[in-house]
C-alpha cells in the first residue's frame, strides 16, 4: 500500500501570539518565528507510518508499503521533508512555490496532480494548517479525485485485505465510524496519535505507541540522507490561478481582564445581573 502525506511548513504555532499584522492589515507578519511543520501534518505522517509498519519494529515499512511526503513551498521546506524522511517516510517531493501564490483550492488541484503521478492508495493529511486554519484542502481534493473521504479522523483501522479503512470521527456525544473503500482521503485530528488509535492487523493488539508524533532517531536522520527527495518547480504540475484573495487582516480584539469575586453569592448575583447567564 502506498500512502501520500502532504506537508506544510508554518510559523512556530507554539508562539502564535507573536504573529503581527502588517500596517493596513495587508498581511500577517511572522518574522522571527521559527518555521515548523504544521502539527496536524506531523500527526498525518505518524498515522501513515503506523499504518505501514509493525509497531514493534518502527524502523522499516512493511513489504510492499511505502509513504511519500510532498510539499509546496520555499526551497527551505525541503528541511520539513527531510524530517519526515528521518521519521520513516520513504521519499519526498518538493514543488517550489511561494505561499502567497497559493490558496486551498490551488493546493488541492496541485495535490490531485501529484496523486495522478504517484498513484497512492490513500492520502492522509492534517485536518487543517494551523496558520490559516482554512480546513478545506482535504475535502476539495477528495471531491476533485472523486474519492471517498473522512475528515477529523481520531482512529483508522485498515482492513486485512488493505482494500478499505474504517475511520472513527469524534462528534458531539460519540464517535461515528465510516467505512471507506480505497483509494480515499483521510484528514486527521489530534487524537489520531493516541497510543492505540491505529490498527493495521500487523502491529500486535497489545502494542502501545507513545502518544504524539515520533522523534526521528539520529541513525534514521543519517539514513534519510540517502532517501530520494525530488525538487521541481510548482509550475511543472500544470495548475495555476488562485481564486481567493485576502481583503484585510485584523487582530482579534484584546481580551478584557477578568474579575475576582469574593464569594458564591456575589458570583451568582453578578452572573444574574451583569453576565445575564442565569
Amino acid at each position: 500500500m502506498k500512502i501520500l502525506v502532504p506537508l506544510k511548513r508554518t510559523a512556530d504555532p507554539d508562539n502564535a501570539n507573536k504573529i503581527k499584522i502588517a500596517p493596513g492589515g495587508a498581511k500577517v507578519v511572522t518574522d522571527g518565528l521559527e518555521p515548523k511543520p504544521n502539527p496536524f501534518d506531523e500527526y498525518a505522517v505518524e498515522s501513515a507510518l503506523r499504518l505501514t509498519e509493525n509497531g514493534t519494529n518502527p524502523k522499516a515499512r512493511l513489504a510492499g508499503d511505502s509513504v511519500v511526503v510532498a510539499t509546496f513551498g520555499a526551497k527551505e521546506a525541503s528541511q520539513t521533508l527531510r524530517q519526515a524522511l528521518a521519521m520513516g517516510a520513504d521519499s519526498g517531493l518538493l514543488f517550489e512555490a511561494s505561499d502567497e501564490n497559493l490558496d486551498g483550492d490551488l493546493v488541492a488541484r496541485a495535490l490531485a496532480k501529484v496523486v495522478e503521478r504517484e498513484k497512492p492508495d490513500l492520502v492522509v493529511m492534517g485536518k487543517q494548517a494551523v496558520d490559516g486554519d482554512s480546513n478545506q484542502v482535504g475535502q476539495i481534493l477528495a471531491e476533485r479525485l472523486g474519492w471517498p473521504s473522512a475528515t477529523f479522523a481520531m482512529s483508522i483501522e485498515l482492513s486485512q485485505d488493505k482494500k478499505s479503512v474504517i475511520v472513527g470521527r469524534e462528534v458531539d456525544g460519540g464517535v461515528i465510524k465510516l467505512k471507506l473503500a480505497l483509494p480515499a482521503v483521510i484528514t486527521v485530528d489530534l487524537r489520531i496519535v493516541a497510543p492505540k488509535s491505529i490498527t493495521n492487523h500487523v502491529t500486535p493488539q497489545t502494542h502501545n505507541y507513545q502518544e504524539g508524533a515520533r522523534y526521528a532517531p539520529l541513525p534514521m536522520i543519517m539514513a534519510a540522507k540517502k532517501k530520494p527527495l525530488a525538487e521541481a518547480p510548482f509550475a511543472s504540475l500544470g495548475v495555476e490561478g488562485v481564486k481567493t484573495s485576502y481583503v484585510k487582516f485584523e487582530a482579534p480584539p484584546a481580551r478584557k481582564a477578568g474579575i475576582k469575586v469574593k464569594d458564591v453569592p456575589e458570583l451568582v448575583q453578578r452572573l444574574r445581573a451583569e453576565a445575564k447567564a442565569l
Partner: protein, 392 residues
C-alpha cells in the same frame, strides 16, 4: 541553507529533533529535578531512544559517528532547557563514550559501547580527586599489576554520574590512575564497572549550587580489582587520552553555556517588551537596552567562536587545545553574565524560579569550574600562545 551552526541538513534535522524533544520531554521536569537534586534516569533512557548517547561513537558499536559540530548543537539544545541534565549527558556521551571510542581497543568497545549508546548503562569519567583538581597530574590513585588483574587504590571526587541515586553507584567509568612508581606525567586509564570488588560509592555530594539534576559523587577504590583487559591502551599512555578528550569536553561545556545564554536572552527580551514601568516597556530604557544588546552580541560572538572551533576539531587527533580552552573560557563567563543580566532585567521576578533564569544563573557558574577552571584555561592558553608569533 546550511550555515556555520548547522553545517549540513542532517545537523539541522538533529537540532530540530533535539529541540522539540527538549521542549516537550525535558523542560517539564527540569525545575522539579533541580529542586529535588535528583537525576532523571528514566528520561536518560528515553534520550537513548533518540540515538544521541553515542553521538560520536563509530556506528559499528551502535553509535552515530557524528562530528564536533553535532556535539556542540546537541549540548546547546539540551542545556537551553536543562543544563543539569545536559551535564549528565555530557559526562556519559563525551567523557565516557567518546573517550573509550577514541582510545579503547576493539574488544573493549564491543563490550561497553553498545550499552552506552542505548543508555542501558550509564558512564562517567574519573580524573579529579579530593586533593587534585587543576593540578590533575598530582592525582594519587595508584594501580599495581597482580597476575591477571590490576589493583587500584585511591579516591575520586566530583564524579558526574558517579551515582544514579543517593545510594546507588553509576554503571561504568573510565578511571585515571598512576602505576606505582611511574613518573608524574605517566597516567594509565582503566575501565571500572559497578560490582568490581573494592569499588564503592563514597558519598553522593549534596547541596550543590547548580547542576542539581546531575549527580556528583565521591568514589572509593579499596584494593579494587580490575581485569587486565580493562587497561585502556598501554600502561602510561593515558595522559594523551586525557588531553585529547578534554578538548571535546570543553567544546561541549562551551556549547552548554550557549544554550544557557540563548534561553536567558529570550526570556529577558520578551520580558522587556511585556513589562511596563513609568508607562513604558522596559526595552525603552537605555540601561535595559545595554543588558539585552550586549548579551546578544556576546552570545553571537561566543556561538560563532564555538562552532568555528568545532569545525576545526578532529575528534581523533589532539591539536585543538588553544581554541577548546578558548571557547570555554569565553562562553562560560559570558553565560554567567548573560544570566545575571537576565535576572537584573526581570528584577524580583528574575530572582525566583518561575522565569527559569535563576536556575540558569546557578547552573552557569559550574561552567567556570568543571572541565577546567577559567584560571586553568588562561594558563593553558598562555602557554600555547607562547609558541605563536603571528596570529591567523
Amino acid at each position: 541553507m546550511d550555515d556555520l551552526f548547522n553545517p549540513t541538513s542532517e545537523h539541522r534535522t538533529l537540532r530540530q529533533t533535539i529541540r522539540s524533544f527538549a521542549e516537550k520531554e525535558i523542560e517539564p521536569q527540569a525545575a522539579e529535578h533541580d529542586r529535588l537534586e535528583k537525576f532523571n534516569h528514566a528520561l536518560f533512557r528515553k534520550v537513548g531512544e533518540l540515538g544521541i548517547l553515542g553521538l560520536t561513537v563509530d556506528p559499528q558499536y551502535q553509535g552515530a559517528g557524528m562530528d564536533a559540530a553535532a556535539v556542540a548543537l546537541a549540548h546547546e539544545e539540551l542545556s537551553a532547557v536543562d543544563p543539569g541534565f545536559a551535564l549528565a549527558f555530557l559526562a556519559h556521551t563525551l567523557l565516557f563514550a567518546n573517550n573509550l571510542s577514541v582510545n579503547g581497543s576493539d574488544a573493549q568497545k564491543q563490550r561497553y559501547l553498545p550499552d552506552a549508546c542505548t543508555g542501558a548503562r550509564i558512564g562517567g569519567m574519573c580524573m579529579s580527586e579530593p586533593g587534585a583538581g587543576t593540578d590533575v597530574l598530582g592525582l594519587r590513585t595508584t594501580a599495581v599489576r597482580k597476575g591477571d588483574r590490576y589493583v587500584l587504590n585511591g579516591a575520586k571526587m566530583w564524579i558526574t554520574n558517579g551515582a544514579v541515586s543517593d545510594t546507588e553507584l553509576g554503571d561504568m567509568f573510565l578511571v585515571y590512575a598512576r602505576m606505582e612508581g611511574a613518573p608524574r606525567s605517566k597516567l594509565s586509564m582503566f575501565i571500572v564497572e559497578k560490582g568490581f570488588k573494592g569499588f564503592s560509592l563514597g558519598q553522593k555530594i549534596k547541596d550543590k549550587l547548580g547542576m542539581r539534576a546531575s549527580t556528583t559523587a565521591e568514589l572509593v577504590f579499596e584494593d579494587c580489582e580490575v581485569p587486565v583487559e580493562n587497561l585502556v591502551g598501554e600502561e602510561g599512555d593515558a595522559t594523551v587520552h586525557m588531553m585529547r578528550n578534554l578538548e571535546i569536553e570543553r567544546l561541549g561545556l562551551a556549547a552548554m553555556s550557549l544554550g544557557i545564554a540563548r534561553r536567558c536572552i529570550e526570556v529577558m527580551n520578551r520580558y522587556a517588551t511585556d513589562r511596563k514601568s513609568f508607562g513604558q516597556p522596559l526595552r525603552d530604557f537605555g540601561q535595559i537596552q545595554r543588558h539585552i544588546a550586549e548579551s546578544y552580541a556576546e552570545y553571537m560572538a561566543g556561538r560563532t567562536y564555538t562552532y568555528w572551533a568545532a569545525s576545526k576539531l578532529d575528534l581523533d587527533k589532539p591539536g585543538g587545545r588553544l581554541d577548546s580552552d578558548g571557547v570555554k573560557l569565553y562562553c562560560s563567563t559570558m553565560a554567567k553574565n548573560v544570566a545575571d543580566r537576565a535576572i537584573q532585567t526581570l528584577g524580583g521576578y528574575g530572582y525566583v524560579g518561575e522565569y527559569r533564569v535563576e536556575r540558569l544563573w546557578r547552573d552557569a557558574k559550574l561552567l567556570e569550574i568543571g572541565g577546567g577552571t577559567i584560571e586553568a584555561h588562561q594558563k593553558n592558553m598562555t602557554r600555547e600562545l607562547a609558541r605563536t608569533e603571528k596570529l591567523p
